[in-house]
Point group: C2
Chain length 232, copies 2
């Protein structure tokens, strides 16, 4: 983690400020801003640790991170993967005083730690603002719920197909993308063994449905993936 002397990004151009100031005054935002800290995390660094106390909301300004959960037996599990800009708070941090998930950077992440108390004070004064945040939070939940549904009644190749589609459409927003996730991480997302991921990806690669070159993946036949997802 790197604390930043000069600002990482300009608060006046930040998406969080833009949304916020539709509902609250610049002066009110300034109070929140002054209690906020910008930080940068490298790939692999833990931003929030499962089990720790939650005292801040997190605005993911730029970058990609994963929500992870690990159980007593030491198994890791990826709940969802999100790309900035996005406010992370409702799920993990808002009301539970200990975090139920960890947040770990998958790519370099520019984030902003927002003091929860100052933020809540402002929120309760602006119902419409709170309503919008509520909505955004629910949306994020839904994206992970759809992964769970896929996971619950699809077989491994269908789940992996779904993950490839999700990453393409919601995270990297491109048909081809630099694949910063290891096979092991995809396994933690798809809830299967990493061998299974490797086998499935190799097969898709050989078929030509996707192309794997080094760390890069290109989805050649999106319909085929959707078909696999449907029928498995």
């Amino acid at each position: 983690m790197m604390e930043v002397e000069s600002q990482l990004f300009d608060c006046n151009k930040c998406a969080f400020k833009t949304i916020s100031c539709h509902y609250i005054g610049d002066d009110e935002f300034e109070i929140i801003r002054q209690l906020s800290v910008q930080l940068q995390f490298e790939k692999g660094e833990t931003i929030v640790k499962q089990g720790s106390k939650s005292t801040h909301l997190i605005f993911l300004h730029k970058g990609i991170l994963k929500f992870t959960y690990h159980n007593q037996s030491g198994k890791n599990f990826i709940m969802t993967i999100v790309a900035g800009p996005k406010l992370l708070g409702g799920a993990n941090l808002f009301f539970k005083n200990t975090n139920i998930f960890s947040l770990v950077a998958i790519e370099k992440c520019d984030i902003c730690l927002i003091d929860e108390r100052a933020f809540k004070n402002t929120l309760v004064k602006h119902g419409n603002y709170l309503l919008i945040l509520f909505e955004k939070t629910i949306e994020m939940f839904q994206s992970s719920i759809f992964n769970f549904i896929s996971l619950a009644h699809q077989q491994v190749n269908g789940r992996i197909a779904d993950i490839l589609i999700y990453l393409s459409e919601e995270v990297y927003k491109n048909q081809g993308y630099e694949f910063t996730l290891s096979r092991k991480e995809i396994a933690e997302f798809a809830a299967c063994s990493h061998e299974n991921v490797i086998t499935t990806l190799s097969k898709l690669n050989k078929e030509g449905t996707i192309t794997l070159v080094g760390k890069k993946i290109i989805i050649n036949d999106l319909n085929k993936l959707k078909e696999i997802s449907k029928r498995s």
Copy 2:
């Protein structure tokens, strides 16, 4: 579904009113109440249908219902099961204009349909009220997320053990309970075949960990169930 002439339950003694009137005035609640309708649903009846438009929040006054999802291939899946009194809205109905899950009664349910618009109008005026509802909604999400986690990295017997514990602790609130769910429904909750459920329950019954008598189930050895959940 039965529309009720005389009131099913007294609005003045309703838990929803009690919570609400900590934050809003009786006169404001009265406006919401007048736009609300009491309904009774029998076991098996669909209260809200996946895909339909959502125009109301639902307060589950009394009873037990399931959140279900069915995919294109016709497979059903139970997301979670909840017992009243509980406000259902944030997840399914609040912001999406079509419902992404169905709600189906597992036991006789007394519910109250609350006009969404009237409710929202009041909410935005009372930040603290909205914040509490936000919190309750997130809590409900979390309970289903823990089921998903169990589902994601446990084997079938561990998942079934978890479901038995969940039903005992969160839904029926008793070590023994009248089991209104069929084996098929447990299978839809545990995301496995119903044969698997039957085999697992029979085994637990023979071992003495649980006792099955007709529709009744008694958990004799909670620790054993928790152990199964841990090690699978």
